[in-house]
Assembly symmetry: C2
Homo-oligomer: 432 residues x 2
């Protein structure tokens, strides 16, 4: 067996220096667990002359990719530099040179995950990406461990910290989306261009990565039905509260009879549901397994040390696999063909908020629309506007397919008595 | 490397047959992950003639312990038969014969954990006991993984399903402790002799196991300060609700500057805290790590398949370690001498419920008692009884030491205006 594992580190920003720190500070514990030391042999940086904290020998630094990916003594490439196209090329070359990969790069994985994993399997290499999904939560590890002895049927979670922060502040402080977003940007919690977060793309990338793994199916980002939180009004949140729900941006991936559905959308969960109590920038993922039942993992979704810790855990797993001779055999090599549910196979309860004429017959017209689709109602709240010109109607249906709801939304818009359908959201986490 | 790992299974009840099932149904996935097949070679049973479901070849069954622990071809003993003294003797002999151990036996581990782990380390054997603590939650695994790259400072959790079920029903259905306990017994959720659960011993065993691991310190069951839920009244729960808290039986283990505290006691957590939303028989454990921050694991605490899944995960880890040549090196070998905090070093907020004379001067007398100990108040609720003979006073302090609270409780009892101190509980999960 090998007496030492050498690592090539691509990127030396906050996460990269966190990784170096942890490997240094936890040397002994690591040897205890994996059976040999792990050493950083080379660090790829952009700027060789930049002044750096800590006492990294400058001989470790290089700006030449080949000094990592072509070095026969380097066993594992740890990629924490970000970027998509260029970074994929680097990792591709690394795998062709039989290097194992640990990456924290969700954007690259969402686009190039499938070819990268395939190439890795051909070359008997491991690719680990725990840190790319909800850095502080060992969710990928739990799925992988669980997969060997259980069957996962549903994953549902808050996988974007920025949007959870915004929704938390909106409801707790009676504020608008725009107002809280601006504050989050000023504080550095949200990007200057916040669309990747608030439009749900970041969450969708994570959902596609988790689904690929949990259902062993090669899904793509485009297969995820995505709706962000940009259109959410304080009224939506407040009516949801009155009916006993909290609104969260949930990523959902579920499998029935071999077919899967994936979505990211604002979703109502009952106050009593554990996901309802996840506040601020925290992440949490619910997993439903055949054997184990419901489990949930909660923690920080990002941050220097949580992400670096996840990278080191992945690295340790890869080192174990190298020494076990089981690399390139990870269950990430999809076992099934892709099979997605169509919109008449995706069921849930729905919350709708309408504005309608406040007159006799209005409610009958509305209930007729639902009755034609055979969808019944669980909860109804009707509030006249102050001047009694119109009424606000908020309702929660029983189970309905996405297709049924689309027809209902269309038919409601056609009704003369309806002034507008303000919003509709999925409802999860309670019985029928 | 070994081409096959043979298992001796002690016990063939619900969990044991679950283990056999999972090993059978997930054969391929297991080979993928650990690099070789795992086979059950021998099963120890009490009664050879008992009729059994499934098609287990009767040649596998034996009632002779030595046919497992002396068999040189058996690598790992999986113990799911329960019992303390006798079972310890079996495992001791197994380790002396260089067998690795996977056990789901919390009672035995709480009493004999230290000598067993010590003996295992001497013999280069692994001992795994994930299934013994909160079967459906991979908490021990997470602590062990985390320990290699983080430093854990606090663990706080609901680790007993029966008591959480009772507390949930009491508050949700306005019922008394005795009433819900009786129902739980009728339904089979609670034992005929419920003391191990309701008096907190079961939870204390788990807390001592988790502390040994998290803080690498050889603690014992007696070091845990234990108070169960037997004395809790519906009034306690209801006043706590009014002040914004939920009462949970929490196991708490914390470390500051090398000293630790461990307790199991009814504890108030704010409604907004994720632990407050853990209902019925579910378990959840909060972990605070230096690097990763707050994480929480939630799931079923027990049950046939959750427990069997945990046993199989442990078994797979042991098999990996055998093949890695890193057995007997687990971090469960304590690194530090035991060092417990004394009662003037254990701090928290406290909830107190008193009955006092409803007259001028009463409140001043009470506040004087707190002021003498330099303990200030965060929340106060005073309600006169209907006949105005006495008043009920409920209050929450700011941080106070256990010692300060003991003096306060004593001094309050001495006051003429106090008719009685009905209850006092720790408060956790909110800032100062």
């Amino acid at each position: 067996m090998q007496q030492k594992i050498n690592v090539g580190l691509c990127g030396f920003g906050t996460v990269g220096s966190g990784v170096v720190q942890i490997l240094e500070n936890h040397k002994e514990e690591i040897v205890h667990q994996v059976g040999c030391p792990i050493e950083v042999k080379r660090i790829l940086v952009n700027d060789m002359n930049k002044k750096r904290e800590g006492n990294i020998p400058s001989s470790l630094l290089t700006d030449q990719v080949d000094e990592l990916v072509q070095d026969p003594e380097i066993d594992v490439i740890v990629e924490v530099m970000g970027g998509i196209e260029g970074t994929y090329k680097v990792l591709e070359k690394a795998i062709q040179n039989k290097k194992h990969i640990v990456t924290a790069n969700k954007d690259m994985m969402a686009v190039y995950g499938s070819p990268l994993l395939e190439l890795a399997n051909e070359n008997q290499c491991d690719v680990r990406y725990e840190a790319s999904v909800a850095g502080g939560i060992p969710i990928i590890r739990s799925l992988t461990d669980g997969l060997a002895s259980d069957r996962i049927n549903k994953i549902m979670g808050i996988v974007n910290g920025t949007t959870n922060y915004i929704l938390t502040k909106m409801i707790e402080e009676d504020r608008t989306f725009e107002d809280v977003l601006k504050e989050a940007q000023d504080l550095g919690y949200a990007e200057a261009d916040p669309s990747s977060d608030v439009d749900g793309l970041d969450a969708a990338r994570k959902v596609s990565l988790l689904s690929t793994l949990a259902f062993s199916m090669p899904v793509e980002l485009d297969d995820v039905d995505v709706r962000g939180i940009r259109g959410i009004s304080f009224d939506d949140l407040s009516y949801a509260e009155q009916l006993g729900y909290t609104v969260k941006l949930l990523g959902i991936a579920a499998r029935n009879e071999g077919k899967i559905e994936m979505s990211v959308q604002p979703t109502l969960v009952p106050h009593s549901h554990p996901l309802a109590s996840i506040k601020d920038e925290y992440n949490a993922v619910y997993v439903y397994g055949d054997a184990v039942g419901e489990t949930m993992f909660y923690g920080p979704g990002a941050g220097q040390l949580p992400t670096a810790t996840a990278v080191v855990s992945d690295l340790m797993d890869v080192v174990k696999n190298i020494r076990l001779g089981v690399t390139g055999k990870s269950s990430v090599n999809p076992q099934f063909e892709k099979s997605l549910k169509s919109s008449n196979e995706v069921f849930s309860k729905f919350f709708l908020r309408l504005e309608a004429e406040d007159e006799a017959g209005t409610f009958l017209a509305i209930t007729n629309v639902f009755a034609r689709q055979n969808v019944s109602m669980d909860k109804i709240l009707q509030m006249p506007k102050k001047d009694h010109s119109t009424a606000e109607i908020v309702l929660v249906t029983h189970q309905a397919s996405r297709e049924q709801i689309d027809v209902i939304l269309h038919d409601l818009e056609e009704l003369d008595v309806i002034k507008g359908v303000h919003s509709y959201y999925r409802v999860e986490g309670e019985g029928e």
